[in-house]
Symmetry: C2
Subunit: 169 residues, 2 copies
DNA sequence: TATTGTTATACTCTATAACTATA
DNA sequence: TATAGTTATAGAGTATAACAATA
């Protein structure tokens, strides 16, 4: 990837570093989750989302929206988690079409068992390497990127290529 | 993931932002690669690595090392790419055990066809959102993290998370 | 024996489309 | 008709272990 057709060296370096660090951390985290709790990344995300929700309950659709993937993909994962006794599924009372997924005590327990290791990995790979100021700077920058991404990718304004020179914020 | 057991809010925010931005960009890039050239992310990475190498040639092992995954995984991908006429595989002359993977003209051509779109996505999602200073700052920080990760994760400092975990599934 | 790579196999994940049922 | 979710299915990706060939 020497010639990226219009990304200068610095831009390319930023992109590649982001990509690599992201995937390395993800990899390390997934290994830990698997080893400590037999959980895959997606499964952990579902359990964590539920743990974060009011009564450990969320509708399938809300879960799917928060986590990116398709309905059917979530159905598959939810079925796995249900088989393992980590969540239950039941129709919502107000709307019989909706399914409410609920974290079971056992699910919460497993999450508690896995969390320390999870935190340890993140701490060791990311937090410990940076001083608080850098960490805050990075978070700020990345949040800006994330917000922009979520605000609908300006598909309309695609043909933009002014290599930098923009002061967002 | 409200309670992360020992990550403060800022640390957690940094981690989550990194994770989310990384996966959103990866997703967008993979979609573009698939649409513009019928390539998966891993396949593109292999082709790009080859394009970067001296004569468009690399040994299987060197490819695998550079790209993370297992030998067998690379064998699979290399076979796909060979079927598509994008690379060739031939034993090395100095060491009959080694296989040299070579980018074909057609492979290089496809790469050329896919690159503009690839760059455009990165530009739109990442570069355009940040001013040059932020970009440089982020690259610097992430490079520090990456270097540390590569310098063998101080496995010594990881008190193994025994905790009899091992059951869900 | 160690290294390079392939094969066989098995499993996870994801997506699309067709389908059911509620609203 | 529109929405929520499931099912059937199909395919891609990855890893592990056993294997063959070369060094």
């Amino acid at each position: 990837m020497t010639d990226a057709s219009s990304l200068d060296a610095g831009q390319l370096a930023a992109y590649l570093a982001l990509k690599e660090v992201g995937s390395l951390i993800e990899h390390a985290v997934e290994q830990q989750l698997r080893a400590d709790g037999g959980l895959s990344g997606p499964q952990f995300q579902i359990l964590a989302s539920l743990a974060d929700a009011p009564r450990g309950r969320l509708r399938m659709t809300d879960l799917a929206d928060g986590l990116v993937y398709s309905r059917s993909g979530l159905t598959y994962q939810a079925a796995q988690l249900e088989k393992a006794g980590l969540v239950t599924r039941a129709p919502a009372e107000e709307d019989e079409r909706s399914i409410i997924v609920t974290l079971t005590p056992r699910g919460r327990e497993l999450l508690g068992k896995v969390m320390p290791g999870h935190v340890e990995v993140v701490q060791r790979l990311l937090i410990d390497v940076l001083d608080p100021a850098d960490l805050a700077t990075m978070a700020g920058i990345l949040n800006r990127v994330r917000d922009r991404m979520r605000t609908g990718p300006p598909r309309s304004a695609a043909p933009r290529r002014s290599a930098g020179a923009r002061k967002p914020r």
